[in-house]
Amino acid sequence: MKKRSRYLIGAIPLVLATGLLVVLWAGLSHQPSIIPSPLIGRLAPPLTLPRLAHPDREVTPMVFRNHVTLLNVWASWCVSCQYEHPTLLWLKRHGVRILGLDYKDHRIPALAYLKKYGNPYVKVAYDRRGLATINWGVYGTPETFVVGPHGHIRYKYVGPIPLSVARRTILPLVHRLRLDESVS
């Protein structure tokens, strides 16, 4: 066999390895969280659910009216939600109104979770079987939506929100929405 073709054959592993590395690199910098949601810009789907701490009361679509609201889907069994929790508390401290949606969970551990890690939510809607959230296109926890004062979904984040995203994207967006939309 000619020498050149030997070098070419010898190069195959390197080429394969390089291709793999590129994919891994892309996987690392790939943000699964910014998959655009078809819901963005639309009116929020209806949301009527009992509340977590007060089973006799309900959360209705009225909660979104006149406020910029973060809807955060979480569960006490969800480990990533624990990662995210400090970020939510940070957002609350910065005056963001957060509505919780407890997803496929049980009341007792969910309440214990909030007691242990702190409660960033103004209210928590309780979706025992995860049915009401289907309309929202939720397929896991945590997921977070920003809903404008007229009930339009403005932003969606899949996965635990890093503090950097909260600081650079979500908080400015909430402020902007307050200014833009509440005037009309």
């Binding site: 590395l21 690392l28 790939h30």
Partner: protein
């Protein structure tokens, strides 16, 4: 103070590794003996300072010094002493420290045992090992320094993930790391030989014991991990095709292939370029495993650090190391094409080639399954996960031909084997196997075994029956007074192959004939499954040093007689919470019975899971037999004799070592 000493020691160890790299590679490149004289002391220095640094971290853990962030996060004065020592490697930073300690240890061992190697070659090997160490030192110092102070100090410690608080898990990571990192030695030998431009039988012979040692540790580590997940994760099952399990399994498959192809390279001088590639791939895969675990690219229960920056760093490390090694390979591999040492189709070489192809294909199948979700996501095709069904359907069929070959390979001669000789050696086991199969068919004809059970039992018994033919033949010849040796290498190989057979039986029987049911019961009720009756006697609170929980009592009856009393538990750990399900397992012989306690369902009812696992112990027993076989092979006299090459001859002029065990089996 201790923390600062630890950090300085870590930096000094890094400098040692850096000088080891420079003087090793540059010294060998320029043939300066004075430079090369620095390499070995630097390797010992690296071990010394690394051990010092690691000792400091351990001391901080034992004294629960909460002014160090890592300690405050993962150590707790409530933890027993043993776990405070082991807690060091319970999370990311500490496990990197352990990784480097192990690497320093391997490096020092190479430094000790390479005194008889040609000096240039030994220096290149140490230089490559030093370069790997440098990468990891930089990684730890830059992205995951365990000695960072916490001001003001924390008042209470955090905890280790309670699920990790288990004696087996304490030794599982060090074992696995010994294996992963041990593959770096094979990698370094391959790269050093490639740089030198010559890979001869001597190179293969030097590499073999190191690869074998790494493989033994890897085997033991995987077995321990699997055993731990069986009894600790609480719901049964001993292998989940979890990305992290795969990350340890892929290097193991490649290392297994490497052990076999090294045998060919040593004995016949063939497959050299392929062997070098396997050595590079083996270590690259263990780095890839680290990357997958540490970066959180694939989420799994094992992923403790989900930090993209760390992931990026390991990826760069992985990229640089494997790319450099493969570049050297491109540069030098064409030189290795010259002498193949021809062989016929019917020869041991062919079979080992098949073995390699099958093992590497298996590793590739696992690799694709592990990485496929990532591909799909990167190319924007959605998200999915690849579950155990994929692996079961793809990986297992690849292994079946391998099981046939295991029985034949060792009995076919090198270069060109004859069917007649093969038949002469194998007719007894083949006959026994046929008889056993017929007997089984007769006995189990009305038990409705699934097809997989039949296949597994037949293949497994084939492997078992053929495993010891060679040692028995040699013993027979010796009994007849012929001067035949029985080197421990042959014995080790037979034992390891026997272990494979044991594993096949264990896996087949436990997965195809095991039963499990979820059943809600209240105290006083009984449940009957697979010939055993489980009576739920009582349930009550229980507590340990750092947990509280509930403990149930079950009496198990077999054929009307009391068989065992077991206590499944559910533990809640404080202060940080976390719950583990400690299943109660009895048996350990031909079958395991398994009761685990779920959640209260109200009105005194509890959800419970009962499992009947026949022969599951064989899975780990087989693994341990394989490791034991490896150990026996490692003890072979040949490796020690082979090392007696004149130390100052460059590798290019090294005389071909004498082979005390001529190819007796051919």
């Amino acid at each position: 103070m201790i923390a600062e000493i630890g950090l300085y020691a870590l930096i000094l160890a890094f400098l040692m590794a850096a000088s080891q790299t420079f003087f090793g590679l540059a010294g060998a490149g320029t043939r300066r003996l004075r430079w090369m004289a620095v390499t070995r002391p630097a390797a010992f220095g690296q071990l010394f300072f690394m051990a010092l640094s690691y000792g400091c971290l351990t001391d901080l853990f034992v004294t629960s010094n909460y002014s160090v962030r890592y300690v405050a996060k993962y150590s707790n004065a409530l933890m027993p002493f043993f776990y405070r020592v082991a807690g060091v490697w319970g999370a990311h930073e500490g496990s990197m420290m352990l990784w480097m300690l192990v690497l320093a240890l391997w490096t020092a061992l190479v430094a000790v045992f390479s005194r008889k190697l040609p000096v240039v070659f030994a220096n290149r090997v140490l230089g490559v090992l030093g370069a790997i160490a440098c990468g990891f030192f930089l990684f730890t110092l830059i992205t995951s320094n365990p000695f960072v102070r916490l001001l003001p100090p924390a008042l209470h410690g955090g905890t280790l993930n309670p699920i990790l608080e288990d004696p087996l898990l304490v030794i599982h990571p060090p074992m696995l790391y010994m294996g992963y990192v041990g593959l770096s030695v094979a990698f370094a030998f391959a790269v050093a030989a490639l740089i030198g431009g010559r890979m001869d039988a001597a190179w293969a012979r030097w590499t073999r014991p190191w690869t074998l040692a790494a493989w033994i540790f890897l085997t033991v580590g995987i077995v321990l991990g699997s055993f731990w997940s069986y009894y600790e994760l609480g719901w049964g099952g001993w292998w989940f095709w979890d990305p992290v399990e795969n990350a340890s399994f892929m290097p193991w498959l490649v290392a297994t292939a490497l052990i076999h192809s090294l045998a060919v390279s040593e004995k016949r001088g063939a497959f050299k370029s392929w062997t070098a590639l396997l050595a590079i791939a083996g270590f690259s895969l263990s780095l890839l495993g680290t990357f997958l675990v540490r970066s959180g690219v694939l989420i799994s229960i094992h992923a403790f650090a989900m930090d993209p920056r760390r992931g990026m760093f390991i990826l760069v490390l992985l990229g640089v190391m494997s790319a450099l090694a493969l570049a050297v390979y491109i540069w030098r591999a064409p030189l290795l094409w010259e002498d193949g040492g021809g062989f016929r189709f019917l020869s041991r070489e062919t079979l080992i080639l098949c073995n390699n192809i099958l093992l590497v294909t298996g590793a590739a199948a696992v690799f694709i399954g592990t990485i496929y979700p990532l591909f799909i996501e990167v190319f924007g095709l959605g998200r999915l996960s690849v579950g155990p069904p994929y692996f079961d359907h793809v990986f297992i069929p690849i292994m079946f031909p391998l099981f046939v070959l295991i029985g034949i390979g060792p009995y076919l001669g090198w270069k060109s084997g004859s069917l007649r000789a093969l038949f002469r050696r194998l007719w007894i086991p083949a006959l026994l196997w046929l008889l056993a199969a017929l007997l089984l068919l007769f006995l189990a004809s009305d038990s409705h075994w699934p097809l997989m059970t039949w296949l597994g039992v037949l293949f497994g018994s084939w492997v078992l029956l053929t495993a010891f033919v060679e040692p028995l033949r040699r013993l027979w010849l010796r009994f007849r007074g012929e001067p035949v040796r029985l080197p421990s290498g042959v014995l080790g190989m037979s034992l390891a192959h026997f272990g494979v057979g044991v594993i096949i039986l264990g896996i087949t029987v436990s997965t195809t004939l095991g039963v499990w049911r979820d059943m809600p019961l209240k105290p006083g009720q009984s449940y009957r499954m697979a010939g055993f009756r489980y009576r739920f006697d009582a349930i009550g609170p229980a507590r340990g040093r750092n947990w509280t929980g509930v403990r149930a009592t079950f009496s198990i009856f077999h054929q009307g007689r009391l068989f065992a009393v077991v206590h499944p538990e559910k533990r809640h750990f404080f202060p940080d919470g976390g719950t583990t399900t400690n299943a109660a397992i009895v048996g350990g012989g031909l079958h395991d019975l398994f009761v685990s306690l779920g959640n209260p369902l109200g009105r005194e009812k509890w959800s419970l899971r009962f499992r009947y696992e026949p022969m599951v112990i064989f899975v780990w027993l087989g693994g341990l037999l394989m490791a034991l076989g490896g150990l026996l092979a490692l003890a072979d006299r040949r490796y020690r004799i082979a090392l007696e090459v004149h130390p100052f001859l460059p590798i290019e002029e090294a005389p071909k070592p004498r082979d005390p065990v001529e190819e007796e089996s051919s």
